[in-house]
Symmetry: C2
Subunit: 247 residues, 2 copies
DNA sequence: CCAAAAGTGTTCTCCATACACCCATGC
DNA sequence: GCATGGGTGTATGGAGAACACTTTTGG
């Protein structure tokens, strides 16, 4: 007997053993949607897939799907992301639960929305597969027409992301494990949509002990090589979860 | 025929008309829980009800219950709050969706958690009814044993509230429509769990144009009467949603 | 030697903080 | 007149903002 079948039987038995006063089932579906960000070409980008069936046939959508019966939501989000894009993310956070009664025209489906960050190097390694899903990056500030309430979801995720990078080190998840300070600054500039002063930025980052030198250099093209840094966990712990980088 | 019955029939018909490719039903329940805060006796308090049945029989819980099939989550939260406590809140915000597979021992039930604020005067007007629910206020920092994951939910709500009052005017919902500056300060002190300097506090509030004088005085007991203020929406709009009060 | 990005200090202003005394009232 | 909270101003230090030039490399 296959393990999957055993599991299914265990689930069925567990359901049968449900206590008699279990609350009645409501026919409300539960989905997760994932807004996946990266930075490409100095632009904040969102991953979208093609919808190939009704409703919203032909539009784009963020990766999403129904949650399984005994599956935690974060697991569902990761499973769906991997299935539709081939990507594993190391950072994923719950955004909001979207609940408009008619957000899915077929029937009531809640969407527990998540947002996630990947470094652009993850893209080369695993590559977004040109599968049936047609996963592709789109500039977050120039999106095509989207299915369901996904435009609002992305809007909310961008707002949240702006706040997030100012008081947590989330921005580092948009970079390789080693990076130059200019790259880090560009992440902040792209997300905040404003230019930052190079000297002030570097002073802040370094005085907070958020980074440490690797001793390596990145040499690229015909210009001065840049020092490579890595993120220091302890820097953030010490900061006590307070404001890190407010510009 | 009663309207309720007509509605039920309409719902049934709508379901019947559901498109053939509607996603399959998952047996996942959807509940809302509401963490309702007020300030009483210079203490942050949470409203709890008694559980009178399994699971967690005899423990306290925050007000909560299952969402109806065609009901928006915020409406469900308000409906449940009114049913179990008799209170209407004017401020209610989604907190987080709690999803541990075994958070309800009977079967899989998601909880979309909300938090809400009421001014203490609402309590006198509508009074928390000593109904079967046994709704009562408890100091948020000295809670009894709680059902489900409600202790974690309250923890999360308190953390969120601390942040919230620093960059939005949410704190005003814990006060009457007119209030003294000392009352406002006490709200901040109680939530942040730290004393604030009276002169600095007043300077901040007034320089942000968050309040305006009503011209009224509150005379109370054997001491100097205090000026009454009201909240000014425009103050917050002008502040552009940025940081309001950081102490 | 030229182009392109890396790297580096100082000044000024403003805002957060710290701090102590008089005021108005009811009894 | 006294107890109680209401109400007010100033001085200091530190952090954010503004600002421009030199360095290193490959071609």
């Amino acid at each position: 007997m296959k393990d999957a079948m055993k599991d299914a039987m265990k689930d069925a038995m567990k359901d049968a053993m449900t206590s008699p006063d279990a609350p009645p089932l409501q026919p409300i579906g539960v989905a997760v949607d994932v807004i996946l960000f990266t930075i490409l070409d100095d632009t904040l980008q969102v991953l979208l897939v093609d919808r190939l069936s009704q409703p919203f046939d032909g539009l784009r959508a963020v990766p999403g799907g129904l949650v399984e019966r005994r599956e935690e939501l974060a697991c569902a989000a990761r499973r769906i992301l991997r299935a539709q894009t081939g990507l594993d993310v190391d950072w994923l956070e719950q955004l909001y639960t979207f609940d408009a009664v008619d957000r899915d025209p077929r029937r009531r489906v809640l969407s527990v929305s998540w947002y996630a960050l990947v470094a652009p190097n993850a893209l080369e390694d695993e590559a977004v597969p040109e599968s049936a899903w047609g996963a592709a990056w789109h500039p977050a500030r120039a999106l095509p027409a989207l299915a369901f309430d996904h435009a609002r979801q992305i809007e909310a995720a961008m707002t949240r992301l702006r706040y997030k990078i100012e008081y947590t080190p989330a921005a580092f998840h948009l970079l390789d494990s080693t990076f130059t300070l200019s790259e880090l600054q560009r992440v902040y500039e792209v997300i905040l949509a404003q230019e930052l002063d190079k000297r002030n930025f570097r002073r802040r980052v370094q005085s907070l002990d958020l980074v440490e030198e690797t001793g390596q250099l990145r040499r690229e093209g015909t210009r001065r090589p840049a020092r490579l840094y890595r993120f220091r966990d302890e820097g953030f712990e010490r900061a006590g979860g307070g404001v890190l980088l407010r510009f």
